[in-house]
């Protein structure tokens, strides 16, 4: 997890814990996933493999820190490892937390669209329970007191054609983004009037809607 793995004293410690095929350490990937998830107005794809690997590495690091403290090694080195471990744990916890909070706020919308497939199995269980709880809560406190025909959680009244009481996340919000490679010009809105050229490494502020497919494919990172 620390970038330099040259340690003078102590055994050779595998702190990067495996590199992904693209040559970036898992912590880097986790940090990028966390950044993207934090900035995006919609929920993104759940990185199951990454989360699994990160948890294993964190566990491994915990064991190493235990071993070092028991051996009575230099406390400075131990606290540096501990710090690194804490940072990785924070990233993991915050990533999962942000996703859960997005599920909480947008649960009905996610259940209706194909965003449902972006959730992990445990998140889907959580979302189902949340929807039930919210449904019961609304039912008991407000909806049962209405005349029939107005009792739906999802529609305003039986005369509405769509589920108009389900709020949708605003995809028009501006986000800061940086692309890794030059993508070229992309249209900024549906009419194709304005185009913007994305050069690698430069910072842009754009509406989320226009770069949505690129973020989902991993070509653009949100900052």
């Amino acid at each position: 997890m620390a970038t330099d793995s040259q340690e003078g004293s102590g055994p050779r410690i595998d702190d990067d814990g495996g590199e992904s095929p693209m040559g970036q350490s898992d912590v880097e990937l986790l940090k990028r996933a966390w950044c993207n998830e934090k900035a995006a107005p919609q929920i993104l794809e759940f990185q199951t493999a990454l989360v699994q690997r990160s948890r294993e590495q964190i566990h491994h690091m915990e064991e190493i820190v235990e071993e070092l403290t028991q051996r009575g090694d230099d406390p400075l080195i131990v606290s540096i490892y501990q710090m690194d471990l804490d940072r990785a744990q924070f990233l993991l916890r915050s990533y999962v937390r942000i996703r859960l909070q997005k599920v909480e706020t947008a649960m009905l919308h996610i259940a209706k669209t194909d965003l449902w497939n972006r959730l992990s199995r445990q998140e889907q269980n959580f979302a189902r329970r949340c929807i039930d709880d919210m449904g019961n809560y609304m039912e008991e406190s407000v909806l049962s007191k209405f005349p029939s025909g107005y009792r739906s959680n999802l529609k305003q009244s039986n005369a509405s054609e769509d589920d108009d009481m389900v709020p949708e996340p605003n995809l028009d919000t501006f986000v800061f983004c940086k692309s890794q490679n030059s993508i070229g010009s992309i249209p900024l809105d549906d009419s194709g009037d304005e185009i913007v050229d994305l050069v690698a490494g430069e910072l842009y502020v754009l509406r989320y809607k226009s770069i949505k497919p690129y973020v989902e494919r991993g070509q653009i990172d949100l900052v």
């Binding site: 445990q122 406190s141 305003q156 009244s157």
Partner: protein
Amino acid sequence: MQEEGLDVQSTRNADHFGMLIHHLSLLRNKRCLMAYAYKRAEILHGLSWKVGRVLPPEIEGKLNDVEKRYFKNHSSALQSYMKEMGSLDLTVDMVPPKDPYLKVRVLEDIGVTAIGDKDTNLAHHSIHFLKRTDAEPYILQGMMEELIG
């Protein structure tokens, strides 16, 4: 009148417009009420992230029974998610870590509690050097404060 309101091809007699106003104001009332209930539910979400399962008494007195049940259900949904993910505690580590250990002063008399694998006597006004994740739940509840500098 209600049935007429729901039938989209209503005859345009004098009652039609009166009924339309009634329908639209019902919808507006429904939106207002649901917005109020939903806002309270959102506040309960925030609470269950902050304090876990036990509500402080001054807040508990302001909720009605339905809300108390909702809070309990929501906290237990969160707890079961955390357990499913292999006991990953999500209520600690709310801010990015600066130091692995914190110096804290105890604000209330908590007594002897197990912290990590040792028992510590958290007496009033005592100062301890604890791991961040151990001290965080107490700090969030207001029972300890962090000493900076």
